[in-house]
Symmetry: C2
Subunit: 172 residues, 2 copies
């Protein structure tokens, strides 16, 4: 089964991002706006217990994350993905690294650039048009995120949450 | 903000249900296949802490649920909703009731008929055609569900998970 780990920002930011994704992101209907902490990975259902045990431990010993957005950017020319750039913090980098060790050991495909996708799979022309107009917007957003989620992918490509992990908290 | 509480069945059952929802359920892209335990309700973000605290307590003192599907049914003539009927159990009924007391106190709109929607908003003709052909299928499915989820609704109608609650377990 395919799994992934992500942060969901506040409803307010998700609604803003969706207003663009609706037009520019073919994955709009498959998953809510998110910051990917660990990209799609394969795991057997039998490994899930160990994985979630480690995730609980990781969450408990991490702190809530400060999420700040100051600008729109793009992964072009690598690919035509337009995104809200999440200002990197040591805490987020460290969490990302911990999610690639232990039972979750794997080499990240790319260096970790935390982001929230606004648009993807755009033609070159559309990409530069959209990026040009969105860059004009004065986007500044800050919030604290106190949880992350382990998700799994259904056959139609959509994602369902398996479990939520609270950062820096003993669950009561 | 609008919230709801639901169970997600296994990926296998979600994939099966989605193969029908894709054609017959306009909510297909808004939420994964689920059993609603508490329909949409309004809550202030300020109430969320108390609500989640009670949900953790409810989960901890409930047991995993036996989910059995033996047949397809419909809410017609009330409305043209076709669904997999979930065999009622005392445990599920009790969980449903506990999710309508305390901070979550509210009167359910309908008697609790646990189900997984396959199709809705169908015309009368389409409803009887689809129901007739799906009823021919020999559906029998059993599984154990050990968690439920509190979700919130975005402005576009889609649902994001706020938190997962494990049934009958102290989180580690």
């Amino acid at each position: 089964m395919k799994y992934g780990i992500a942060l969901f920002p506040s409803k307010k930011l998700q609604d803003l991002v969706n207003s663009y994704r609706k037009r520019y992101d073919p994955h709009y209907a498959l998953v809510s706006p998110h910051v990917t902490l660990k990209s799609t990975f394969d795991a057997e259902e039998g490994d899930l217990e160990q994985i979630t045990k480690e995730l609980r431990q990781t969450a408990k010993t991490s702190q809530p994350l400060h999420l700040e957005i100051k600008k729109v950017s793009s992964f072009s020319p690598v690919n035509n993905v337009i995104y809200l750039k999440v200002e990197p913090t040591n805490e987020m980098q460290e969490l990302h690294e911990r999610l690639h060790t232990g039972a979750l050991n794997s080499e990240p495909e790319y260096a970790f650039v935390p982001h929230i996708t606004i648009g993807q799979n755009l033609s070159d022309d559309e990409h530069s048009d959209v990026l040009g107009s969105i860059k004009m917007l004065d986007i500044h957003h800050e919030e604290v995120i106190d949880r992350f989620h382990l998700l799994y992918q259904l056959d139609n490509g959509s994602w369902t949450v398996h479990e939520t992990f609270l950062l820096g908290k003993e669950s009561e």
